[in-house]
Subunit: 151 residues, 2 copies
């Protein structure tokens, strides 16, 4: 297995609402057969019906009705300034998202906050100077202080 | 918001188990303060304690104990041949994952299957000739037949 992810598909309950939300944040996608595809660097972010996605995964979706809790995964969007963190959280809230952790300097020492999209998928928005953002937005992990088993 | 994802963090209940699973699939990460970071193209895949991740997102993690159902999101790893799909599903099963949808030609017409990692995160493994894989593994979406509102 090569060390890469080709697509991330977010299960959504209202495709038009989800699509509009990401458009309001500045994303531009293409809808094909009730599925919205967004190119995102060397991968794609996809929006698809949650029930169909669960079925396609061969998994039961027994989330309690109305459950707004944590699904087990978080996405992150890193930016270059604290001001961009604030601006994006404001934009997400205005677009129908929910700020679940207001922006602040976290325990690790960088400025970040979290919003959820209309289907509850969490996005951390972070200005972490420890993680390089290339000109094209690619994230490059630092050479961490060498732990015993990884150099 | 630029159209990109910086990190994906998978909530895990046993970091060593999760790390070993991804190592068995061929991933190489670095552990820093009970968090494992993997560079994955222009982004990073991170493994972190599920409870801490939920808390960091400002979300309750009220997943029923032992619930193995769908969390609302799926990752995909696209490969270049049907044989690679079969081989990776076998490898994932041998490493402690669960094949939740055996490989077959799906309704759209390409060959794929799904496994879940030890924490239940689903990965579709697909050979989809409609999606270009660049030499470096980047996925490039096709120019879809133009829908009315996207050209």
């Amino acid at each position: 297995m090569e060390q890469r992810i080709s697509l991330i598909t977010l299960g959504v309950t209202d495709l038009a609402r989800a699509r509009s939300f990401y458009e309001a944040l500045g994303w531009c996608g293409t809808e094909v057969e009730e599925t919205v595809f967004h190119q995102a660097g060397g991968m794609a972010l996809v929006l698809w019906d949650r029930r169909k996605l669960a079925e396609d995964c061969g998994l039961p979706d027994s989330r309690p009705a109305g459950f707004g809790g944590f699904g087990g995964i978080a996405l992150a969007h890193n930016v270059r300034t604290d001001g961009e963190v604030d601006a994006l959280l404001r934009l997400a809230a205005a677009a129908g998202g929910t700020v679940t952790r207001p922006a602040a300097v976290n325990a690790i020492g960088f400025y970040s906050g979290v919003f959820t999209d209309p289907d509850g998928h969490p996005w951390e928005v972070a200005h972490n100077p420890g993680f390089t953002l290339a000109a094209d937005g690619s994230l490059i992990l630092p050479r961490f202080a060498a732990p015993p088993e990884d150099t």
